[in-house]
């Protein structure tokens, strides 16, 4: 359905893909949308591939995004973003954390990890914005803020204001105290800035 927004979030088990998508769906609910979210879990927490599909609009039927129909891709890992790039609509934007998470099967020399996954995405014509979420989080003093940096990056690509998403993050961290909220606000702002700076024309 044309009024449905499709967001694909991908990464590997343990990176916070599902939590990020959960917060994105809370924002969509706060905006009054019907929302469905689906992922393949199970063994994914053992370092496997994780994708989370988020669809929202007036009325959502199927929870699954079909290839070629995602409005935006949020990639937590470079090669995973490349793996799922074909889900994007032609001309749609991919926001990618350029972290390289190399699995044991590659370290054992059984497979190869692409030299430049972000470059490969661009070569395939995908509008790609990349940034280093871990470095941004580390500069703010807490590696775990990477998730909020990622949410900041997607904040300006949604059909609602960034403030709605930020409110959902703040609500989630409120019980951890004012300092945690403040750190997350900073991480969100840094993620927004990093993505906006790099958005191609």
């Amino acid at each position: 359905m044309s009024d449905t927004t499709n967001i694909l979030v991908c990464g590997i088990g343990g990176q916070g893909v599902m939590t990020a998508t959960e917060i994105l769906s809370e924002a969509a609910i706060a905006e009054g949308h019907d929302v469905k979210k689906t992922e393949v879990a199970g063994m994914s927490q053992r370092g496997g591939v994780v994708t989370s599909h988020l669809r929202f609009g007036a009325k959502v039927l199927s929870p699954q995004i079909t290839p070629g129909t995602a409005d935006v891709l949020l990639g937590f890992e470079a090669a995973e973003a490349l793996r799922w790039a074909h889900y994007l609509k032609p001309g749609a934007l991919a926001l990618v954390n350029d972290a390289r998470m190399v699995p044991p099967v590659v370290e054992l020399g059984l497979f190869t990890y692409p030299d430049d996954p972000i470059g490969d995405m661009k070569a395939r014509g995908v509008r790609t914005v990349s940034f280093d979420a871990a470095s941004i989080a580390r500069e703010l003093g807490e590696l775990r803020l990477g998730n909020t940096v990622m949410l900041g990056a997607i904040a300006d690509q949604l059909p609602f204001s960034a403030g709605v998403l930020l409110d959902c993050i703040v609500k989630r961290f409120a019980r951890k105290g004012e300092q945690a909220v403040e750190m997350n606000r900073k991480a969100f702002a840094a993620g927004r800035a990093a993505a906006l700076q790099a958005v191609p024309a």
Partner: protein, 609 residues
């Protein structure tokens, strides 16, 4: 709410007093959620058969009862199920069975709708979270009205999909009390013979209900090229892809509403059944004389995702190929693997270093030992099967396998689920098997549920704790053949496996470190590789830890003329939790604690478990 959370909410609201289950993807969260609600008894049972029996007992008392399991769990529970259908339900009894269509985390793919046919039970199939909630509530009413157990058939794409749902409040159902009635509850042949006609009569009544109930909706639609019969998650995909097509949406999919299906067939030129896995509805429609398409052009394996259904039906209609979907870039695989510091890793590293072993495996995280770099499992069938299969391998071996050592590897929860009987069979029948009982104190693969091995119940409250040493001794293993070892101590583990496999008897080696995902696990200090000391031997990579990364590869020619590949490494100190496994095979002692200079810490931390 996810489908599983929605089911749990509805079970609670329906006034259920007893709910039981065994963890299994994608069903786990139903019981996990239910355990957080007040005013009902919940338990993790030791296996699915017991969970169903607990539910049956509660229903006999007149209480509403619920049990939840994954598809293969209902195989285990099926002995109880097939006679339960004769006695029927007193208090409403709903059995939720979750099929892992697409096999994200299962050893097979099977269609649990068959059980409805086999056991003559009604099958309800929700297609999203709201329906999972609604149908669960209705299932209890249906169960009591027809005095039948009800199968609530879910798939991963219902269990793990979140959507918005409207909920209600709990309505208490006080049990009427147990009505002693041996002719109904004691299934000896004489009694059972009288119950079979009642079961068949019930199924006839349900058949009539199926054509009347609003659970089965005939949506007419204006696009009369093709009419669809579908149920479960595929309904949503079909409705989205063909918004104006006539659809018969089955909520009560067994017994089939044949009159409604005939009315639908008259609405379009082509009738298509969209059902995942087996052509059950399709065959029933064909048997009733309706010309239906289905598995002649839709896949029989895996999920019928929207990108599969739409082009397939367009091809059927236009008889021409639809434009190709955007293609994925071929990339390296990223299979699930053991966590950093996983206590199973040392076991598989040890097994991979030993020769002449035949290893019978089981179901759990440790099934991952079949993967790289360990490649140390030779067979896996189902829960608890490692025991019997190992014994069969021992007894069935011929000349070719005369010198092989047969081992069985099983986890704590799986051992209590269905492995204990197998071990008893091994001791009783004098097998020559070395059993590795990997006790990590939890059901790891499904996210760390409690088991009798960690002495906590479903709520995390203290409960009697099983002592594996005494248990296996009671099952007939000689005390001197039982060893409890620390799986982080490779030499100890290596020695225990090598010596026990030499002895012609049953041995049990129990490992005693907790799963890294549960609270009992306390991370140790992380390690780092000293770059100037690393010789690139690659031994640490062979351990298989996801925190070890190769920084540089090289080749050297040895004096013998043999070319050797080198892999220089680093340790991701954020991911490393300091188990010390990689330290032990490192010949140049290049792996040391990542710590400020001057700190003295033992290389392999040993602490009481």
């Amino acid at each position: 709410m996810s489908g599983n959370e929605a089911v749990a909410r509805a079970v609670w609201e329906a006034g259920v007093r007893v709910a039981a289950g065994y963890p299994g993807t994608p069903a786990t969260e139903m019981l996990e959620q239910l355990s957080t609600y007040p005013d009902l008894y919940t338990e993790w049972s030791v296996n699915e058969k017991v969970s169903l029996e607990v539910s049956i007992g509660a229903s006999m008392m007149g209480s509403r009862a619920f049990c939840a399991m994954k598809h293969v769990g209902l195989n285990v529970a099926s002995d109880a199920l097939m006679t339960l259908t004769l006695v029927g339900a007193e208090g409403g009894l709903v059995i939720a069975v979750a099929d892992d269509v697409g096999m994200s985390s299962s050893q097979n793919e099977q269609d649990s709708r068959f059980w409805g046919r086999f056991a003559h039970l009604p099958v309800l199939e929700p297609s999203d979270s709201q329906e999972a909630y609604d149908m669960t509530r209705q299932a209890f009413d249906l169960s009591e009205e027809y005095r039948t157990p009800v199968l609530l058939r879910l798939t991963a794409r219902i269990c793990h999909v979140k959507g918005l749902i409207e909920v209600g409040e709990r309505v208490e159902h006080q049990p009427k009390g147990f009505a002693r009635n041996p002719e109904r509850w004691v299934m000896v042949p004489g009694h059972a013979k009288r119950r079979i006609p009642l079961m068949l009569q019930r199924e006839e009544e349900l058949k009539r209900l199926s054509d009347q109930t609003p659970l089965n909706v005939l949506e007419p639609g204006s696009d009369r090229r093709v009419a669809f019969i579908t149920s479960g998650p595929t309904y949503m995909h079909v409705r989205e892809a063909f918004p104006d097509a006539p659809i018969l949406k089955l909520g009560l999919s067994h017994p089939l509403p044949l009159e409604k299906a005939k009315a639908l067939a008259a609405m379009a030129d082509t009738l298509v059944v969209v059902e995942e896995v087996e052509p059950l509805l399709e065959n029933e429609l064909k048997a009733a004389g309706l010309a239906a398409h289905g598995k002649d052009f839709l896949p029989r394996i895996g999920e019928l995702a929207p990108e599969i259904i739409k082009p397939a039906i367009e091809r059927l209609l236009r008889k021409e190929a639809a434009p190709p979907e955007p293609q994925a870039v071929p990339l390296f695989p990223r299979p699930p693997t053991l966590c950093a510091s996983c206590p199973h890793m040392g076991v598989y590293y040890t097994l991979s270093q030993l020769k002449n072993l035949t290893i019978s495996g089981d179901i759990g995280c440790y099934t991952l030992g079949a993967g790289h770099p360990w490649n140390s499992l030779d067979a896996t069938i189902c829960m608890g099967a490692s025991m019997g299969i190992a014994l069969g391998m021992d007894k069935g071996r011929g000349e070719a396998d005369k010198n092989k050592k047969v081992l069985a590897v099983i986890g704590d929860s799986t051992f209590m689920h269905m492995g204990m009987q197998g071990l008893l069979d091994i001791t009783w029948n004098r097998g020559n098997i070395t059993v590795l009982l990997l006790d990590n104190g939890t059901v790891g693969m499904t996210g760390g549920q409690n088991t009798p091995a960690n002495g906590r119940d479903i709520h995390g409250q203290g409960a009697p704790r099983i002592d594996f040493r005494r248990l296996v001794e009671a099952l007939g293993v000689k005390p001197e053949r039982i060893h409890e070892v620390d799986p982080y101590q490779l030499p100890v583990l290596f020695k225990a496996v090598r010596e026990e496999t030499k002895i012609d008897d049953v041995s049990v080696i129990i490992t005693n470190r907790p799963c890294v995902l549960i609270d009992e696990f306390k991370p140790f200090k992380p390690y780092a590789v000293l770059e100037d000391k690393c010789t690139g031997c690659g031994n640490c990579v062979e351990v298989g830890c996801p925190a070890i990364h190769v920084t540089r590869r090289d080749k050297v020619v040895k004096p013998s003329g043999k070319e050797v590949d080198l892999a220089f490494t680093r340790i991701d100190t954020v991911a490393c939790t300091g188990c010390g496994l990689c330290v032990q095979p490192c010949a140049p002692e290049a792996i040391v604690h990542f710590a400020p200079a001057g700190t003295v810490v033992p290389i392999v931390p040993v602490q009481p478990v």
